[in-house]
Symmetry: C2
DNA sequence: GACGCGACTGCAAGCGCTTGCACTAACGTG
DNA sequence: CACGTTAGTGCAAGCGCTTGCAGTCGCGTC
């Protein structure tokens, strides 16, 4: 394996100069730099991450922690992050929490392999937040506001209100919500906020209560929940699902029952899932890829010496009207 | 930051013993090990990846290279890999190639941050293969057979034949294929093989030629290609799409034209996409998650000292009949 | 012409671990 | 009982870089 001294010898300079020439830190004359680059290139030299990291304290890598990998939202955010970081020479170290959250945070993340950390949709309690802070690296959490961390937040209460208000504005009064089941709600406050937004919007219209059907944020779960909702006597004329995948499940369930969308039942989701347009799904888009890009940018800024902002401002969202919602039929 | 000497002092032993006790290499008495573990735990000590890696030459990380992150197939395979590796204490370093393949392979991957490498759906030419071999770490490529690398291969020729044979067995004779466009075909031989399987199966039935419509493996692309296929005079009675996403696009396109699936046109895909069942899509499942798990297992075996197998055998696939295919109507 | 000053460059001391080797002590064995 | 073994431990030399510090050199100034 060719090392820095091989390059130094080939270029006729010291290893210190090679290091400076290649990393761009410290003054090196243009001529020397050129010579070093040529030597490195021709020898196929690439710096050893371990040695460089040990000596400099910089790892040139950013950790990303996700709850799951194989869900559209997470892989899309991840793609946005990757885009933003690779361009700046950072590697990504990926931690998929699965059901070993504790182990991932206490062991893997703490090996000091990374210069910064991004977490997605993982609400951290005081203890976990403190433990993360102790890492001593910039951290950006895409999650609900948390005064202990730098967070990038979608105002999910407002999202819930917006979706519900859309249905109300169309004239619906019998509206049901498909939200998180216990297991899904455990790790995140997002579903609870969307639901509260739903309930607040209804309350303002004087609608005291509306049924909520729990599901697991998958198409299948959404379908099953919608089936129950649509079988209830006094069937709702509109359904607000807390994710597009569940909303799509709801559309499919409605179809199976021979109900027409939106004629017999209006359906709205949240996310901006790429499939939505194929189902004519009205939704509140939250620009997943953009969330990843913003997280990457925030992390890069902080690595560049910017002050860590506590609140990075809220993330945008937007009602996208397609065909799955309409006024209730007489 | 607490280091190994802090632990050594607390446990009353040398750093060498701490290292051995914590890593499990080399003899340490049970009592000493216990004392060290307690000390490490109470101090919150976690080994520095950089220092450990530099000293030992082991990084406890596996690199994974994917063409894209936000496509179902890749994120699903990745989830399988992650599952397999995390359980064994390995971190994952993720490289998303995008349009910087060269840079990723020549720079990032070569920083010796990883103990092994898994590539997904990236055919490597002789030069790239050689360059990867030179990394000196185990490599498993989920891709077409490549004598220069350890590959985990789906027999895509057979997949193409199987899908086509299914349509032929149902009695279809006017069959069209939705395959890769130039850009998509560039990085991978998979689409070409599926297409050849398609053509061979037809040829055996004496069907000399059948139209092929290029697309980009997305729902949208599949939909557009199917629209063209279904508009052709002498409309095909069956469509074989080289991916489930394109097949779903085809179903949607057919519906938009008022054609019934499978009555007016049969449609079959490849992948085993989770959405398939919602569209009643007949497909050739290739068990994406399992592919990732097998790649992880193969890599772990080799890291454990097993001989690198050149061909790791072929990956399973299976026809899943759902409602989107049926005999052609009179 | 002496001096101060920047711009470059090299020396060498680490960065925080792992591990070959040497050593000690405790056990069989013949 | 002397000796070979083996298990357990410590010493200290790196692993391959980065960087503070100390030169060296060429210039511009007074």
């Amino acid at each position: 394996m060719v090392g820095i001294d091989d390059v130094a010898r080939a270029a006729g300079v010291s290893t210190a100069t090679v290091s400076r020439a290649l990393s761009g830190r410290g003054p090196v004359s243009a001529a020397t730099r050129e010579r070093v680059m040529v030597a490195a290139e021709s020898l196929g030299y690439v710096v050893s991450a371990a040695a460089s990291s040990l000596a400099s304290g910089r790892a040139r890598a950013v950790g990303v922690v996700v709850p799951f990998l194989d869900r559209w939202f997470f892989s899309t955010v991840l793609a946005g992050i990757s885009d933003g970081l690779v361009r700046h020479g950072y590697d990504i170290t990926l931690y998929s929490v699965g059901d070993e959250r504790r182990r991932v945070f206490d062991d893997h993340v703490r090996r000091r392999r990374i210069d910064a950390l991004i977490t997605i949709a993982l609400e951290s309690d005081a203890e976990e937040s403190a433990s993360l802070r102790r890492l001593g690296v910039p951290i950006v959490a895409i999650a609900g506001p948390n005064p202990l961390l730098t967070t990038l937040t979608v105002d999910d209460l407002a999202v819930g209100r917006l979706a519900t208000a859309h249905l109300l504005a169309l004239g619906h009064r019998r509206v049901a919500h498909i939200g998180a089941d216990a297991a899904t709600a455990a790790g995140s406050t997002v579903p609870a906020l969307r639901r509260r937004g739903f309930e607040e919007a209804l309350a303002e219209e004087g609608i005291a209560e509306a049924p909520v059907y729990p599901a697991d944020f998958t198409i299948e779960g959404g379908s099953a929940a919608a089936a129950r909702a649509l079988d209830a006597d006094h069937r709702p004329t509109a359904l607000f699902a807390a994710s597009d995948e569940m909303a799509i499940g709801a559309i499919l369930a409605a179809r199976e029952k021979g109900l027409r969308v939106p004629d017999d039942v209006s359906i709205i989701g949240v996310d901006g899932h790429e499939l939505g347009r194929w189902f004519g799904l009205t939704t509140v888009d939250q620009f997943a890829r953009g969330q990843g890009e913003r997280a990457a940018a925030a992390v890069l800024a902080e690595l560049d010496g910017a002050e860590p902002a506590r609140g990075l401002g809220t993330l945008p969202f937007e009602l996208v009207e397609r065909g799955s919602t309409a006024p209730p039929s007489a």
